[in-house]
C-alpha cells in the first residue's frame, strides 16, 4: 500500500498477481517513498517517479539514496523544465491497472531529460515503446576474474612486497620500525579489502536484477549457494579488517624489530588463512563467472519470441531458418541444452527469438536444470510464444503427449500471444492425422484462442493461432514468423495504447489529410507500361534458367566452365567463337588493328612500287678501275708479307724478356744463310747469284764447307724453292715429334703419376719452373751447369803467397 500525498502519489491498488513472479515488472520498496509535491504537476496520481534506466553495464549497483525529486513526476508530463541537481534514486516500472509508471534510476539527469525529450517528441508510438526498450541488455561479461585462494594470497603478498619498502635495520628508530611494519599490515589489508569488494560488487545481486535473470541464475547456480558464497567473501573481508586493526594496535607498542616483525608475520598469516578458508567459495564464484559470461544476452524487455515444445520437434531448425543463429540440430533429444538467442527483423523492428531446450511432461519438482531454463524463460519473458507440435510423431512423442504437456504449462501462457505451430508437415500433413489427435489439436487451439480473446483482441480466424509449416521444405516458415511478430506487435501496441501517458502523446499526432473538394476519386496513377513490365518480369523470373543451374546440370563447378563468350555483343553472332591470335611473327596483333588498314597497306605498296622503280633506274655505280689479277696477286702478297712482319714483330716482343740476344754467328734458326738470302732476293725479282758469290768469297769459315749434295740436281740444276723455308732434318724431326705430342693434353691437366694435387698446383709449378728458367734463357745458357768461366786459372789464385794458410792445394 502506498500512501498518497498532496495529490501526487501512487494509486495503491496493485493487480493481483496470478502466479508468483510472472509479472515482468516488479515493485520495490523504494517507490514507497513519498514524493514531495511538485509545483508543476497536475493531479495525475499514477505518475510518480520516473523510469529506470539501467546502464549498459547491466548490473545494477545498489540503490543509493532514495530521494525523489519533483522533476521526476514532471518528466512524465513531458515538461521537464525543472533542473534537478541531485541524482534520482531507483524507481521501477509499475503496472497499475493499465497505467504504466515507469521507475527511473539515473546517474545523469541531463542525459535522461535529453532522451526523454527526444523520444517523446518523436511522436511515434513505437518510439515510446522504445522508451521501455532503452532498458539495456544484461551483460555479465565484464566481471573481473576471481582468483583462487592460493593465487589470491600470492598476488596480494607479492604486491605488498613490491610496493612497500623492504629494507629495515634494527638500528633504526623504534617509531620508524613500527611504522614500517604497520604499513605492511595496513597495505595488505587494504588490498584484500579492495579486491574482495570488487568481487562482491561486480557479481549481480539476484534480487536486484530482472526476475528472468534472477530465476535463470537461480536455476543454473542455486541462489542459496550463490548468496552464501558472496556472504562468505563479505565476512572474510570484515575479518581481515578486524585482524588488521588488532595487529596495528599491537604494533603500536612493539618494542623491538623482532617483535614487530613477528607481529606483522602473524597478521599476514592470519589474513592469508582467512582467504584459504574461503578458497572453495572463490572457486565456485569463478565457475559461476565463467558460465555467466557465456550466457546469451537476452533483453527481457524488448520484443521477444519464445519457442517451446517437446525435444526434437524442430525448434532449433526453425530458429536457424529465420535468424542467423547457428544452433546445433541433431537427431537426439536435448541437443539444445541452454537458451539460444537469434535476431530477426519484421516491419523495420528487431525481434529477439529465443530457442529453448525441450520440455518433457513431468511434474514441476522433477524437472532438471535444462528444462527449468526453458520454464524460467517462459515464466518471465513477456514474449510471443510459439508452441511447436510435431504432427508426424518423428520426435518420438505422440500428439497426445504433446497435448498433455501443453495443458500442463498453459498457465505460463497467460497474457502472451500464443501460436501453435504444427511442424514437420512434409512428413505428415495436418489433415491426415487421426481423429483423437485432431480433437486434441482443436482443444489446444481453443485454449490458444482464449488467450487472444483474453488480450482484448478481436477473435480473429484461427489462421493466427494454429499454423502449419515444415522447416525442411521451408514452406510456411516465413508466415509463422510474420504471424508471431504481428501478434506480438499488436499486443505491445495495445498495452501502450491503454496507458494514459500515451494518450498525451497521441495528442501530438496529426495526420494532415487535404480536404476533399469534390467527390471525384483520385487513385494513384501507375502507367500501364509499368504494370505490364512488372508482370512480365515476374513471369520471366520464374522461367529463366540461370547460369548456376546450367552449371549444376552439366556436372558442377569443377567439371563445367561457362562459356564466357555467350553474351558477347558483336555485329554478327557467328563471330562469337572466333579466335584471334595475339602474337604474329614477333608483333602484337592488337597494335596493328585499324579500321582502314587495308587502304593504308595499299598505299604503302604503291609507294613501295614507285620507290623500287626509282631504285632500279638509278642503279649505276661508278666503279673505279678494277685491279688486274696480277695486281691483285701482288696486293695479296704485300698483305701477306705485312702480316708476317707484324706477326714476327709480335712474337719478338712477347718473348723479348727471355730471348737471348746472340750475335749473328750463333743463329740457331739459320736465318742468316746464303741460301736464304738467295731465296729472298730471287723472290724480290733480283738475281742473287752475284750476291751469293760475293758473300761466300768474303766469309771465313773454319771448318770445311760441306760439299753440296747434288741428288736434288737430278731435276736439272738445283732449284731453290722460293717459297718458305724447309726446315732442316733435325728441326723437322723434332717438330714432328713435338707436334705429335702437343695436342694430346692441355698443359694444366694433372697426370696421375706426377705428384701434383690439382691443376691449380700444376699451373703454379709450371709458372715457377718458367720463372727460374727465364734468366738463364736470357743469358743464352743451356742450363744451370752452363757457366762461363772467363779465366780458368785466375792468376791471383794460382800464384803468390798467402797471408794466412798454405798454398799446397792450388
Amino acid at each position: 500500500m502506498l500512501p498518497q500525498q498532496g495529490g501526487v502519489g501512487v494509486r495503491s491498488e496493485l493487480p493481483p498477481p496470478t502466479k508468483p513472479s510472472l509479472e515482468p515488472f516488479f515493485i520495490s520498496q523504494h517507490t514507497r517513498q513519498q514524493l514531495p509535491p511538485s509545483p508543476n504537476s497536475s493531479p495525475r496520481p499514477e505518475l510518480t517517479v520516473a523510469a529506470e534506466i539501467v546502464t549498459d553495464r547491466g548490473s545494477l549497483s545498489a540503490p543509493c539514496s532514495s530521494e525523489l525529486t519533483p522533476s521526476a513526476s514532471s518528466l512524465c508530463h513531458r515538461r521537464s523544465s525543472i533542473g534537478v541537481s541531485s541524482i534520482l534514486s531507483s524507481v521501477y516500472v509499475l503496472k497499475l491497472d493499465s497505467e504504466v509508471i515507469v521507475g527511473m534510476k539515473f546517474f545523469n539527469l541531463k542525459l535522461w531529460l535529453m532522451i526523454a525529450e527526444l523520444l517523446l517528441d518523436s511522436g511515434k508510438i513505437e518510439r515510446i515503446s522504445g522508451w521501455f526498450d532503452t532498458m539495456v541488455q544484461y551483460n555479465f561479461k565484464k566481471i573481473t576474474v576471481v582468483p583462487n585462494g592460493k593465487d589470491f594470497v600470492d598476488i596480494i603478498l607479492s604486491r605488498t612486497q613490491r610496493q612497500t619498502p623492504t629494507v629495515v635495520h634494527k638500528g633504526y628508530a623504534i617509531s620508524r620500525l613500527r611504522q614500517f611494519y604497520m604499513r605492511k599490515v595496513k597495505y595488505t589489508q587494504q588490498n584484500f579489502h579492495d579486491k574482495l569488494s570488487t568481487i562482491i560488487d561486480e557479481f549481480p545481486r539476484l534480487d536486484d536484477i530482472h526476475p528472468f535473470y534472477g530465476d535463470l541464475l537461480h536455476v543454473l547456480y542455486n541462489k542459496d549457494h550463490y548468496k552464501l558464497a558472496l556472504g562468505q567473501i563479505n565476512t572474510a573481508r570484515n575479518l581481515i579488517g578486524k585482524i588488521a586493526k588488532d595487529y596495528v594496535k599491537l604494533l603500536k607498542y612493539g618494542d623491538s624489530l623482532y617483535r614487530c616483525k613477528c607481529l606483522k608475520v602473524a597478521a599476514l598469516g592470519r589474513m592469508c588463512t582467512v582467504i584459504k578458508r574461503i578458497g572453495p567459495s572463490l572457486a565456485y564464484l569463478e565457475q559461476v563467472r565463467q558460465h555467466m559470461a557465456r550466457l546469451p544476452s537476452i533483453d527481457p524487455n524488448t520484443r521477444t519470441i519464445l519457442i517451446c515444445g517437446y525435444p526434437n520437434v524442430g525448434k532449433s531448425s526453425f530458429i536457424n531458418k529465420i535468424t542467423r543463429a547457428d544452433v546445433d540440430v541433431q537427431p537426439y533429444a536435448f541437443t539444445t541444452k541452454s537458451l539460444f538467442v537469434g535476431h530477426t527483423d519484421y516491419k523495420y523492428l528487431r525481434y529477439q527469438v529465443i530457442d529453448t531446450p525441450g520440455i518433457l511432461d513431468r511434474p514441476f519438482e522433477d524437472r532438471n536444470i535444462i528444462e527449468m531454463c526453458s520454464i524460467t524463460a517462459l515464466a518471465h519473458l513477456r514474449a510471443a510464444i510459439l508452441f511447436f507440435l510435431d504432427v508426424s510423431g518423428s520426435c518420438g512423442y505422440s500428439i497426445a503427449q504433446q497435448a498433455a504437456l501443453f495443458h500442463s504449462i498453459k498457465s505460463l501462457f497467460m497474457n502472451k500471444p500464443l501460436i501453435i505451430v504444427c511442424n514437420k508437415t512434409d512428413l505428415q500433413p495436418l489433415e491426415g492425422i487421426s481423429e483423437e489427435d485432431m480433437k486434441l489439436v482443436i482443444e489446444m487451439k481453443s485454449e490458444a484462442l482464449k488467450t487472444v480473446i483474453g488480450q482484448g483482441g478481436e477473435a480473429t480466424s484461427d489462421d493466427s493461432v494454429l499454423l502449419t509449416m515444415s522447416t525442411l521444405t521451408e514452406e510456411g516458415v516465413i508466415s509463422v514468423k510474420n504471424a508471431a511478430c504481428e501478434r506480438l506487435l499488436n499486443q505491445r501496441v495495445e498495452v501502450k495504447m491503454k496507458s494514459k501517458k500515451i494518450n498525451d502523446c497521441l495528442n501530438r499526432f496529426h495526420v494532415a489529410i487535404p480536404k476533399q473538394r469534390d467527390q471525384k476519386e483520385r487513385p494513384p496513377c501507375i502507367p500501364q507500361a509499368v504494370l505490364e513490365a512488372k508482370a512480365k518480369e515476374a513471369a520471366e523470373k520464374e522461367k529463366r534458367k540461370t547460369e548456376k543451374d546450367l552449371e549444376n546440370a552439366n556436372g558442377g563447378a569443377g567439371v563445367y566452365s561457362m562459356n564466357l563468350r555467350k553474351h558477347y555483343i558483336l555485329a554478327n553472332d557467328e563471330w562469337k567463337e572466333d579466335i584471334l591470335p595475339e602474337i604474329l611473327d614477333g608483333h602484337n596483333v592488337y597494335d596493328f588493328i585499324d579500321p582502314d588498314i587495308l587502304q593504308r597497306v595499299e598505299e604503302l605498296e604503291r609507294e613501295e612500287g614507285i620507290r623500287q622503280a626509282e631504285e632500279e633506274n638509278g642503279e649505276f655505280e661508278i666503279d673505279g678501275a678494277e685491279l688486274t689479277p696480277e695486281q691483285q696477286a701482288a696486293l695479296a702478297e704485300i698483305r701477306k708479307k705485312k702480316s708476317l712482319l707484324i706477326q714476327q714483330h709480335r712474337i719478338k716482343k712477347s718473348n723479348a724478356e727471355s730471348r737471348p740476344t746472340v750475335p749473328r754467328k750463333f743463329d740457331k734458326d739459320k736465318k742468316f744463310t746464303s741460301e736464304r738470302m738467295g731465296r729472298q732476293l730471287s723472290s724480290l725479282g733480283l738475281d742473287p747469284s752475284l750476291a751469293i758469290q760475293r758473300m761466300r768469297s768474303r766469309s771465313v769459315s773454319r771448318r770445311g764447307r760441306k760439299r753440296d749434295r747434288s741428288p736434288e740436281g737430278a731435276d736439272g740444276g738445283d732449284s731453290m724453292d722460293v717459297d718458305g723455308d724447309t726446315p732442316g732434318k733435325k728441326q723437322r724431326l723434332s717438330r714432328s715429334r713435338s707436334r705429335s705430342r702437343s695436342v694430346s693434353r692441355p698443359p694444366h691437366e694433372v697426370v696421375p703419376g706426377e705428384g701434383l694435387k690439382n691443376s691449380a698446383q700444376k699451373i703454379k709449378a709450371i709458372k715457377l719452373a718458367k720463372k727460374s728458367v727465364m734468366k738463364r734463357n736470357k743469358q743464352a745458357r743451356r742450363g744451370e751447369a752452363d757457366r762461363v768461366i772467363p779465366t780458368l786459372k785466375p792468376k791471383h789464385l794460382f800464384s803468390g803467397k798467402r797471408s794466412t794458410g798454405k798454398t799446397d792445394r792450388r
Binding site: 558477347y568 555483343i569 555485329a571 554478327n572 563471330w575 572466333d578 591470335p581 602474337i583 604474329l584 614477333g586 608483333h587 602484337n588 596483333v589 592488337y590 597494335d591 596493328f592 588493328i593 585499324d594 579500321p595 588498314i597 597497306v601 604503302l604 605498296e605 613501295e608 620507290r611 631504285e615 661508278i622 666503279d623 673505279g624 678501275a625 685491279l627 696480277e630 695486281q631 696477286a633 701482288a634 696486293l635 702478297e637 704485300i638 698483305r639 708479307k641 705485312k642 738467295g678 730471287s682 723472290s683 724480290l684 725479282g685 733480283l686 742473287p688 751469293i692 758469290q693 769459315s701 764447307r705 760439299r707 753440296d708 747434288s710 740444276g717 738445283d718 732449284s719 731453290m720 722460293v722
Partner: protein
C-alpha cells in the same frame, strides 16, 4: 599477353623471358603509366645496372638508330602503335589485319635493306682506292726497285730460278782455304 621491347637493346621480350624493374620512386608519367624497365636478358640488365647509356653501347638498336646505321623514320613504323582503347571484334577487320601484317613486314625489311645499301654505297670505290694506294706503297716489299725499273707494272716479279753449281762452290772453297 604482349610482346614488349627490351629497354636496353630494344629487342622483343617474349612471355616468360626477361626481368622487369620498377623504380621505388616510380615516376608516373603523364598517361598515368608507371615506367617499367623491361630487359630481355641479364646482359641488358647488367649493363643497365652499370648505368651504361644504350645510345653509346654499340650493339644496341638505340645506338644504331642514333648513329644512322638503321632506319629511323618510316611509314611502316606508323602501323604498329600501342592502342589503349580496345576495339569491338570484327571478323573482316581481323582478317585484313592478319593479312596485312606480313605484307607490312616485308616492305619494312626491303626498306631496311635499301637503307643499308645506301649506306654502303661508296664502299667499293673506297676499297679500290685504298687497294691501289696500298699496292703503290707496298710494292717495295715484294719487288725490288731494280726489278721495278725493269718492269714498271705493279705486279709480282718473275721468279728467278737460281742454279747453284758445284763448280762455283769448289772455287769458293779454294778461295777460303
Amino acid at each position: 599477353m604482349r610482346l614488349e621491347k627490351c629497354w636496353f637493346c630494344s629487342s622483343t621480350v617474349y612471355p616468360g623471358h626477361g626481368i622487369q624493374f620498377v623504380r621505388n620512386d616510380a615516376k608516373i608519367y603523364d598517361k598515368l603509366l608507371l615506367q617499367i624497365f623491361r630487359f630481355c636478358r641479364s646482359k641488358c640488365h647488367k649493363n643497365f645496372k652499370m648505368k651504361r647509356n644504350p645510345r653509346k653501347v654499340k650493339w644496341t638498336k638505340a645506338y644504331r638508330r642514333v648513329h644512322g646505321k638503321d632506319m629511323t623514320q618510316d611509314s611502316t613504323f606508323e602501323f604498329e602503335r600501342k592502342r589503349n582503347r580496345p576495339e569491338r571484334y570484327d571478323r573482316n577487320l581481323a582478317e585484313n589485319v592478319l593479312k596485312a601484317i606480313p605484307k607490312i613486314e616485308k616492305i619494312r625489311v626491303t626498306r631496311e635493306e635499301r637503307h643499308h645499301k645506301n649506306r654502303m654505297k661508296g664502299k667499293k670505290r673506297k676499297i679500290q682506292k685504298e687497294a691501289t694506294r696500298e699496292l703503290e706503297q707496298g710494292i717495295s716489299l715484294v719487288k725490288a726497285p731494280l726489278a721495278l725499273q725493269k718492269d714498271p707494272s705493279l705486279t709480282l716479279p718473275q721468279k728467278i730460278k737460281v742454279s747453284v753449281s758445284q763448280q762455283q762452290s769448289e772455287d769458293n772453297n779454294a778461295m777460303e782455304e
